[in-house]
Amino acid sequence: MIDVSWGEQVVFYILAPIAVIGALGMVMARNAVHSALWLVLTMLSLGVFYIVQAGPFIGMVQIIVYTGAIMMLFLFVLMLVGRDASDSVIETLRGQKVAAIALGVGLGVLLGTGLYRGTVDLTPVGLAEANKNGNVQGLASLIFTKYVWAFEVTSALLISAAVGAMILAHVERRKDERIGQAAMMKERFLPGNYPGPKPGPGVYATSNSVATPAKLPDGNPAQRSISPILPLRELEPAEKADKHTLTGGHQS
């Protein structure tokens, strides 16, 4: 039996359920932002586990890089795709979901029992030796000697990621697209242009979406008031109906 100090046990029995709840919450939360926050909970718990298991550096990295930087990236992605964007529930392959759940649970059980049987009578060795000069120093002496090649090659990984992010997310302006203030003003007042500010989108009691056009005096939608890439949003009958906002919610 592995000898575990009582402090470690206390931390484990408090945080392990929290980590599992966080993981379940991440999968089950309907709202994507909530899902991300559940994931933060799990990652923080994992970070504390690492620290408790005598790996303070990896624990701190887990908290700084994962719960800090990478979670932030997740939230950015959520803001890009939309908080309300939900999965399509139509299955392209019939029975896929059931099969996936069955196989996933099967793999989990297989790995879980295998790992349990593999580690139940294991004697951990080498911790004291690895942390002899201090945890971070021990890591450093491996990264910068034995695994120096892998370390340097990581820079290739990071730079291709940077170049890739630039390619996929950055629109480069051509030289002729970058025009100065004077030229821009001249162009603005050329005949055929509309020099005034464009009207904002329609703001109604029932809808203030950016996709709802404002109305011209004659009642027609003003095409200038919405961005050309947005599909025109027609009000649904329910939205058009009188909401009795002026009468305080009471039918008059």
């Binding site: 908080r83 940077a162 009691a205 203030n208 979406s209």
Partner: protein, 127 residues
């Protein structure tokens, strides 16, 4: 009883104590608030009536974010990962001599190329 502050986990005892104090302060603040505040804050007359000029909240006020924000987030993550390697390097480079300093110089130099690329593509200026 002080024996628990020894050893590896014991060295985290001050941290745990600090966390506990933090929880106590925040929790105490909320508790004090709950003692001081009116019992039923929403019961004041007219509090829940619709504001004269207000809109009916209609769901779907979300607008898609510009992808350029993502670029900054991504570059930040890259350099956060770089910093992870800088920490262990910082504790050993004095003892380790020139070779290790050169290693890190190469690593940072290659990443700086990424910054050069981003700068020349005008990704760092807001357009």
């Amino acid at each position: 009883m002080w024996s628990i502050v020894d050893g590896y986990l014991g060295s985290y005892a001050p941290l745990g104590l600090l966390a506990l104090v933090g929880v106590l302060i925040v929790g105490g603040g909320f508790f004090a608030n709950s003692l001081l505040r009116p019992r039923r804050p929403n019961a004041a007359a007219g509090k829940r009536d619709t504001y004269e000029c207000g809109l009916d909240p209609v769901p779907g006020g979300w607008a898609q974010m510009q992808i350029r924000y993502y670029l900054y987030a991504y570059l930040y993550v890259l350099f956060a990962v770089e910093a992870v390697f800088l920490f262990p390097w910082a504790v050993v480079y004095l003892q380790a001599g020139l070779a290790v300093i050169a290693e890190m110089a190469i690593f940072v130099g290659v990443l700086a190329l990424g910054l050069l690329y981003a700068w020349r593509k005008r990704a760092l200026t807001w357009q």
